[in-house]
């Protein structure tokens, strides 16, 4: 009986302090998509993620705010301050972009090299060359404003609304708002803090938003095109929203293909982004 009571208390988050008092604790559940990244909580190294273990449960944390960081060589560091509540686990979904994502230009034509083992992509002449179907597809992609990952539900001269599942992102006059359109019990984690939920999140982006879409495979990160470049921005506003650069160049437009590839357009050239 005593053992059972002890195990239930422990499982619920109660801990015995050095002074033999009972204290409530909580923790973080950190779910990283990047293997080989280092996870720190309050500057203390927790673990390095691996191919088979990208998630980590950090328990035994007392009430309070903790700095969490996720870093990996060659990638931008993600940092956030989040609060631990008693007997609760705070979900954390970090993201990290490469410090210098590789851009692969998409040429309109390609030609088979002699020996048939090499393919040379050339861009300017048409004689004896074969049309690159990927170029044609990307060109068609940029001919519209539709997205292959989210649905544009409303588009007018002054605002654009994209919806992914029931997450609605509205851009109006260059600012973004995110709201939830589904059942309250299914609301994504970043709308709520200790069971207090908000209906709308205003994205804290200082520049004017030129274009936006959901990051491939994520419903908590947006890809936004700003005058200064292309960025990935997290929706989670429980503390400051992380914004990481994808391409820091001016006058960039982008589209996201159904397979999750991000294509950017610089002047009249197209590139795919290797994330």
């Amino acid at each position: 009986m005593l053992l059972t009571l002890f195990l239930i208390s422990y499982a619920t988050g109660y801990r015995i302090t050095n002074t033999l008092d009972f204290t409530h604790t909580g923790g973080f559940y950190i779910s990283s998509t990047l293997s080989g990244s280092d996870i720190f909580v309050a500057d203390k190294f927790i673990t390095k993620t691996s191919l088979f273990q990208r998630n980590v449960l950090v328990q035994n944390l007392r009430l309070g705010s903790y700095d969490i960081s996720v870093s990996k060589d060659g990638y931008q560091t993600w940092k956030k301050s989040l609060v631990v509540y008693p007997e609760k686990i705070t979900e954390v979904h970090p993201f990290t972009m490469k410090s210098s994502p590789e851009l692969n230009r998409i040429f309109p034509f390609f030609v088979q090299g002699e020996g048939a083992s090499s393919t040379i992509l050339v861009g300017t002449t048409t004689k004896g060359r074969q049309l690159n179907s990927e170029y044609a597809n990307v060109k068609a992609l940029f001919a519209t404003t539709t997205s292959n990952t989210s649905v544009i539900t409303v588009q007018s001269a002054t605002s654009t609304t994209r919806t992914l599942r029931k997450i609605v992102v509205t851009e109006e006059k260059g600012a973004l708002r995110v709201s939830w359109n589904g059942d309250i019990q299914d609301e994504p984690y970043y709308f709520c803090q200790n069971e207090v939920c908000q209906n709308t999140i205003v994205m804290n982006i200082r520049e004017r938003v030129l274009n936006f879409d959901f990051f491939p495979g994520r419903d908590d990160i947006l890809v936004v095109s700003l005058p200064s470049g292309l960025y990935a921005v997290e929706i989670d506003s429980r503390s400051s929203q992380n914004m990481q650069s994808i391409v820091e160049e001016k006058d960039i437009d982008f589209r996201i293909e159904k397979n999750g590839t991000i294509y950017i357009k610089k002047a009249s050239s197209f590139f795919s982004v290797a994330l």
Partner: protein, 514 residues
Amino acid sequence: MEYQDTPYFKIGRASDLTGSDRTLYRALEILPGFLSWTTILGTILLSFFAPVAAAYFIIAFDTYWLLKTVYLSMHLRHNWKRIKYNLSVDWAGMLSKMKYEHLIHMIVLPYYKEDTSIVEQSVRSLLESQYDKKKIILVLASEASAGAHGEDVARHIERTFAKDFGYFIHTTHPENRAGEMPGKGSNISYAAEEARVKVLDPNGINYRDVIVSAFDVDTVAYKQYFLCLTWHFLTSPNPFKSSFQPVPFYNNNIWSAPAVSRVAAGSSTFWQMMQQERPEKLATFSSHSVSFQALYEIGYWQKNMVSEDSRIFWNLFFAHDGDYTVVPLSYPVSMDANLAPSLRQTMVNIYKQHRRWTWGVENLPYIIFGFIKNKSIPFWTKVKTTAVQVEGFWSLATNPIMIFFLGWLPVVLGGSSFNKTVLSYNLPMFTRNIMIVAMLGLILSAAIFISFLPDHPKRKNFFSNMPMVLQWILIPFTITIFGAIPGLDAQTRLMFGKYMGFWVTPKHRHEKNN
């Protein structure tokens, strides 16, 4: 009036009673299934409506299961050592200073349509035993419904072996007798009475000098079994208020049986070994021994129900107002593991056999009803016995399902609010860790299983034992599919009054390996 003279003494089912007795008995038949289904469905509903409470219950349940596993593992280890010791004892030497020549062993060997070779192997083991064969009565009990086959087997056995025994009798249990259910109980009861009339009485054999061993047809007695049994009979404080229970090893065809059959058989052996260390909770099972005097006084085994092997203990228990025990012999008899021509059929047979074994739940209403009607049994004996029996049948049907399938249910059904709690994250980890600790006991299981294996008929090296070690990873599968589910099946049938008849386990041997 003695309880055995009451109309309740040999109840088979509720319909054997009338009026309020019938209603009460029927309610008791519903009880075990009700408890098991309430646990399983209650956990599911609680996971949905009160996931925190469900999580608390699952953690408490896991803890109980872990402690029980540790406790039973200790018993298993102790009985293992006891069996090894008993197998090394010179029982003839132990009896040398005792007077036992007056004791006669009556072996009742019922059979139906089993192959002659199976019956013959059992009979040969009796001849190879180290007890004076002239002090052995062999009762070969066939069924009339087996037709000519029964007669052919009996003729062969009689022709070949009868002269080597002190007494030999072949009985043929008639069909369609009023008030009887076809099966082992009715057959061996008929055989015992025939033996009394045709062997004991004409030869002036005192009933108190006869020890009856009711063996399954595939039972192969170890060489010193009857010496060991005799010693325990003579040293028992009250041998006429005691049954004697060996440990069944399913070794006759163990090298031919598939892994799933070996694991199921080994698990049954382990359970019996654990029970041998808890004789206050032990009832007779399968092949067992009891004095003829005790049997005669209560009219032998019940003929109107399936689980006669355990029911005989409860009959004797109530006849003696609770003053009746089982003496664990901690000595083995060898029997057949389930084996059929195909793996699929083997698994079907294992399931059916275990469902028949777990149909022993039909004893629960008999026990509780007897406790209500028999005022001579001490109150705390009733309470403890009822608790042990109820817990036993409930845990058989629910524990594996709870442990292996329902531990994660609150996380799935509990909703987003519950899934943000520390409890929801810890629950699967607790269940997993407890299972890992409990599974460490499989190492002990593998070691014990190998220690009692007969030599491989063809090869004897390290690698021949490897499958016998690796097979134990099937435990989560076997204790659920061949333990909990047939147990739940049997309890549900009893709950809805779908009474089972006796099912004869087909015996099959691969001749090249045995």
